[in-house]
Subunit: 157 residues, 2 copies
């Protein structure tokens, strides 16, 4: 993986090991096969993309079709995990990683709110993604704006 | 970890191994030390909570104070990862895991949009969390509603 630093960018030493493990539960199909072509952010009027869930998890889609908006989490492992200061425009302006939605971050988890067009078996057809074709899927949740908890309220608020 | 199934709940076999590793980059401090007391969803007028980032990542906070709304990702490993059909109310109504924001999911990643009150060194004081005290932090991003990419647009939209 070649990586070219821009002026002012900073890295730190990574921890010796990781603390928890992620399952890739499917793949995301998008029109973009080169990082240079991916949009910087998904748009709800962007092109249709497909979220292909592995058959193992099929039952977990029950009820998903009731939502228009979903939060999709995916794994962006093409970048550096040790970059803490970034220079997104190569113009000398520096930002901390947590002030950016950049794919270079300690845990490279991408998050998009997508518009669900339809469910076809274990595939969701959506708009609003911004990632490379083949990106590993890690989670799907109803977007919080539309979601009301299905269990009774609790005192903790 | 004891787990009591409710009527109709279903599990699947988990894959043999995980595919990627997550670093715990800090801890979240909340008023809730028992799962029974945690709210079902964070609220922007909920109690103040503290996101304590490990010193290693301190520089990555540069610029975070400019945002009011952040997306916070955390790791909820107290539940089952193999539950695909859930009965949240114990009333026989069944939902697929991806139609819920339940902590029981293949990759137990919690996601809250929080309101940033202030930054104190490597600690963020926020409102809007819903997790147990001590929950591992895995990512902080500007919420997409407020965030405009810092790099030039690209053709892929």
């Amino acid at each position: 993986m070649e990586f070219r630093f821009r002026e002012g960018e900073e890295v730190v030493d990574l921890p010796d090991g990781t603390d928890a493990g992620v399952y890739f539960i499917g793949r995301i199909r998008t029109p973009w096969s080169d990082r240079k072509d991916c949009p910087r952010q998904g748009r709800e009027d962007g092109p249709k993309c497909r979220i292909e869930l592995d058959a193992r998890w099929a039952s977990a889609l029950h009820g998903v079709a009731d939502y228009t908006w979903l939060d999709v989490l995916y794994w962006l492992d093409k970048g550096r995990r040790d970059l803490v200061i970034q220079n997104p425009k190569s113009d000398g302006k520096l930002f901390g990683t947590f002030a950016l939605r950049s794919p270079q971050r300690p845990n490279p988890i991408g998050l998009s709110r997508v518009r669900l067009e339809r469910v076809e078996g274990t595939t969701l057809v959506v708009r609003g993604l911004d990632c490379l074709d083949g990106t590993p899927l890690i989670d799907i949740k109803p977007n919080r704006c539309e979601f009301t908890p299905k269990a009774p309220p609790k005192p903790g608020v």
